[in-house]
Amino acid sequence: MATNEKLSVRRLPFYLFLFLLGFLAFYVFDYMTKNPGTGNGYSPIESGAEKIDEKIAREYLNNYLIAQDSLGEAYKISTSGGKTLRGFWLSKKTLDEIDESIRKSGEKRDIVGYSIYFGKPETFARNSRQDINLVVRGTVPRKEGGGDAAKMMRVAEEEAPIEDAGDYFDTIDPCPIHCGSPSPEEP
């Protein structure tokens, strides 16, 4: 200090405070480096997805097929060929094209997943059957804008911290015809 008026603080609590602040800084740094995704600049995107047994998977698939087949034609989710829709096959090429479309759009954020939405190619008036398709888009971590609004949004955690980016893709091939092998058994 240039003058005789020195800054005065109680020493013991001040040193303890500095020690704990250092510990806090270490904890924050450690947390950021240990959490996957944060090291390369992105927040980890949590997902409830986990590996399940084949037996359970087949049970789920069969439960769905039984439920669908118990419905009338107007309610059953079907392929355009009129068969019960079992699922979709998403090609690696399509995924690569989605990634490429995000990169081309100038997005510097990592692609952390894909949003898969249900669509219906024709209006209900033209086609009353429930033959549906999918609309797919890549997702990136939600960008944090400047200002308090963005800070505030991160408190509530009402929504996953992701947002869609890049082009939209459709014609995700239905199963049947594009079924994996072995395909889910018919009920």
Binding site: M1, A2, T3, E5, K6, L7, S8, V9, R10, P13, F14, L16, F17, L20, L21, F23, L24, A25, Y27, V28, Y31, M32, N35, T38, G41, Y42, S43, P44, R109, P141, R142, K143, E144, G145, G146, G147, D148, A149, A150, K151, M152, M153, R154, V155, A156, E157, E158
Partner: protein, 216 residues
């Protein structure tokens, strides 16, 4: 970077430069206030870096909030000698609470709003005690020329509103009332601006007061 954030940063820089240029003339508490504005400016710059590189500025606030608590309570500790010891030990308690919050409730990637809710009542209490202290001290200057009067008023305005804003924020967000959320954000921004403008004014008033005293 948005225009309003740029205005905020510019204001912080101006107040900081004003304090640093007058630093030798300033009395002890106002030196702390100058350093506080400097730390705030650096911290806000760091948030932009984190937002750009890590897409998350949460970690900065986990470190900034205890530092802010230290400076504001140290400022009031210098003005309220009877409370100095209690306020000093509260730094240790506060930083421990920040640690617990970061470990258990709001991770470093989330904005530490719980900590703001803890700190605001302390700042409000300090401002009120400082007002009471002003009544017992004899200052010949008119009230409106006294820097503490302005600083305490500004502190009360900012932190009372901030406390209630963060208390009800999640409820408003859950109700989907985005208009109210945006309005709250704007009011907080304006109150933040007034706080740092007033801080600049009080630093200037203290420097001028010290100069006059030296001349006498």
């Amino acid at each position: 970077m948005t225009t309003r954030f740029l205005i905020y940063l510019t204001l912080l820089l101006l107040v900081c430069l004003l304090g640093l240029f007058q630093y030798k003339r300033l009395s002890r508490p106002y030196r702390l206030l100058t350093l506080f504005v400097l730390v705030t400016f650096l911290s806000e710059l760091a948030t932009r870096y984190f937002a750009r590189v890590y897409v998350n500025s949460g970690p900065v606030y986990h470190l900034y909030l205890p530092v802010q608590y230290f400076f504001i309570t140290a400022f009031y500790g210098n003005l309220l000698p009877r409370w100095k010891t209690a306020l000093s030990w509260s730094w240790v308690v506060f930083v421990l609470l920040v640690l617990v919050n970061a470990m258990l409730y709001q991770s470093p990637l989330h904005f530490a709003s719980n900590i703001i809710l803890l700190s605001c009542p302390v700042y409000i209490l300090c401002a009120l005690l400082s007002f009471r202290n002003m009544l017992s001290l004899t200052d010949e200057r008119p009230l409106l020329r006294q820097e503490l009067f302005w600083y305490n008023t500004s502190t009360l305005f900012l932190y009372i509103f901030t406390f209630f804003c963060w208390s009800f924020y999640n409820i408003l967000l859950k109700s989907g009332n985005t208009v109210s959320v945006a309005t709250l954000t704007t009011v907080m921004y304006v109150l933040g601006l007034q706080y740092y403008i007033v801080t600049g004014i009080v630093i200037y008033l203290d420097a001028r007061h010290s100069k006059k005293k030296d001349e006498q």
